[in-house]
């Protein structure tokens, strides 16, 4: 009897309501497919001046003295909190292709998020969970996640404005047309 129950109901429903009822249909199996594999998009290919060592700094040893930059890197404005006042806080001065963590270990620009994580622990945790930051590609197969500096300028991380695309003409003429609001 118990076994017959659902079958009888099914027959009844399909005869009476050939298009299915208004509610979502019953789900056959609820086991989710495996989650996406997340890959971090490497930063180095999009840094125009990389490799810093090969391009300049093997020949031109950096001057570690804190000063106003007038010759090189004049486009860089350092306005990141109150502690980051000089290049070598994050950049390793004798190997400028590497970033430096507080404990002295070196990481590639591709792992730049590890540098950020030292102060922004909560944001970093959200980023690892995919809650903060840009992840595109597939929700099921392989997803690509951008590292922090793909969006935030680490030297001057303040959010800048840019122009919105125009509202669609339907919205612009809303007062006149007023189809439904």
């Amino acid at each position: 009897m118990c076994k017959l129950g659902p079958a009888v109901i099914l027959v009844f429903v399909s005869a009476a309501a050939p298009l299915g009822c208004h509610r979502a249909e019953p789900r056959a199996r609820r086991t989710p497919p495996p989650s996406a594999t997340v890959t971090i998009v490497p930063r180095t290919p999009s840094i125009a001046t990389y490799s810093c060592m090969q391009r300049c700094h093997t020949r031109l040893p950096p001057n570690p003295t804190q000063r106003e930059l007038v010759e090189f890197h004049t486009d860089k404005r350092l306005a990141h909190g109150t502690t980051l006042t000089w290049c070598t806080f994050c950049h390793q001065s004798d190997n400028l292709d590497r970033l430096r963590l507080i404990d002295g270990s070196l990481v590639s620009f591709d792992d730049g998020h590890r540098v950020c994580s030292q102060c922004h622990a909560e944001r970093y945790r959200d980023w690892t969970r995919g809650i903060h930051g840009v992840t595109t590609g597939s929700w099921r197969d392989v997803a690509q996640r951008r590292s922090c500096t793909a969006c935030h300028n680490p030297h001057d991380p303040h959010r800048t404005q840019f122009n919105a695309l125009p509202p669609p003409s339907r919205e612009r003429g809303r007062e006149q047309e007023d189809h439904h609001e």
């Binding site: 989710p32 809650i131 840009v134 840019f162 919105a164 003409s169 339907r170």
Partner: protein
């Protein structure tokens, strides 16, 4: 029988009640019955003939679908000179789609709106966008006082931005409102429209508390060069005049594992999409660890779209 399900007689009556709908196939059949059937045998009229006899999506066999898709593809080829491919990807077992949108990160740039229009072949003139971005006063949740016509530099210091699109509700008022069952929720939660079954009564549009449904008052136009040829039968295929449409979470993409076009276009990463049944998915992580806000929660729609802060 469920209380919200009308029987066939009632449904027929409602259809007659909205008899002005330009696509009333019953009227057509009556007229056709009185007239001669030979018109249908000519090549030019073959398509409408088949179209008027076309069954509801749920009653179509695989064979029917093959014929219909081929016919639609040929129509687009004739009309626009564009080769499109119409597919019908099925809901995936163990998948229920949901969206989460970060209100703190969205800057209101409308990139999502335009990417959606491009992906979904929505009319360019008159211009139709599924997504509407509300410019909201900081400190207020009152969507009635929002502005949808803002222009220029964003974000401003006084505002935050709330994009709104179809919420794919679990208790969808639009689905209940439809007198002919032309719109329903699929097993993966996506609410779809059978564009060939829709009679254009607009009841669903009136029922939706999110103003997420869009009606083709005029013949939709898309430039041939801008037609997205990767088309889903229940999503972004080219629609005729007189039918309803709306966001389908890009089911022709998402059921193949891809992200929706609006998410791909968003420069701020405000948009999170995935499988609600997968505890590791980004949407589940959002719901489990963030403050989540449901728009018009009081409407009892139980949407699969969540706003969050963070």
């Amino acid at each position: 029988m469920s209380e919200d399900h009308q029987n066939d007689d009632e449904r027929e009556a409602v259809v007659e009640g909205v008899g002005k709908a330009q696509a009333s196939r019953r009227r057509f059949l009556q007229v056709l019955g009185a007239a001669t059937a030979t018109a249908a045998t000519s090549q030019a009229d073959a398509a409408p003939w088949e179209e008027y006899f076309q069954q509801h999506y749920k009653r179509l066999t695989d064979e029917d679908k093959r014929e219909i898709f081929a016919r639609l593809e040929a129509e687009v080829q004739d009309k626009y000179g564009v080769a499109v491919h119409i597919s019908d990807p099925k809901p995936i077992d163990g998948v229920e789609f949901a969206y989460a949108l970060n209100l703190q990160a969205c800057v209101g740039c409308r990139r999502c709106e335009y990417a959606c229009a491009q992906e979904n072949n929505t009319s360019r003139s008159p211009e139709m966008h599924y997504i509407r971005v509300l410019q909201m006063d900081k400190g207020s949740l009152d969507v009635e006082r929002s502005n949808t016509t803002y222009e220029g530099a964003v974000p401003t210091a006084e505002h935050y931005y709330q994009p709104v699109q179809c919420h794919q509700c679990r208790d969808a008022p639009c689905v209940r409102a439809c007198p002919v069952n032309a719109t329903w929720a699929e097993p993966d939660g996506i609410v779809v429209v059978d564009y060939n079954w829709c009679i254009g009564c607009r009841y669903c549009e009136a029922a939706c508390p999110y103003f997420a449904r869009r009606f083709n008052y005029e013949e939709p136009t898309v430039r041939p060069s801008e037609i997205n040829p990767d088309q889903g039968y229940l999503s972004n295929r080219l629609r005729p005049r007189g039918v309803m449409e709306k966001c389908t979470y890009c089911l022709h993409r998402t059921r193949k594992g891809l992200m929706p076009a609006c998410l791909e276009a968003c420069p701020t990463g405000s948009r999170k999409f995935g499988n609600l049944l997968d505890p590791n998915s980004e949407v589940r992580q959002v719901i489990e660890t963030k403050r989540v806000y449901i728009l018009h929660e009081d409407a009892g729609t139980n949407p699969r779209f969540y706003y969050y802060f963070g």
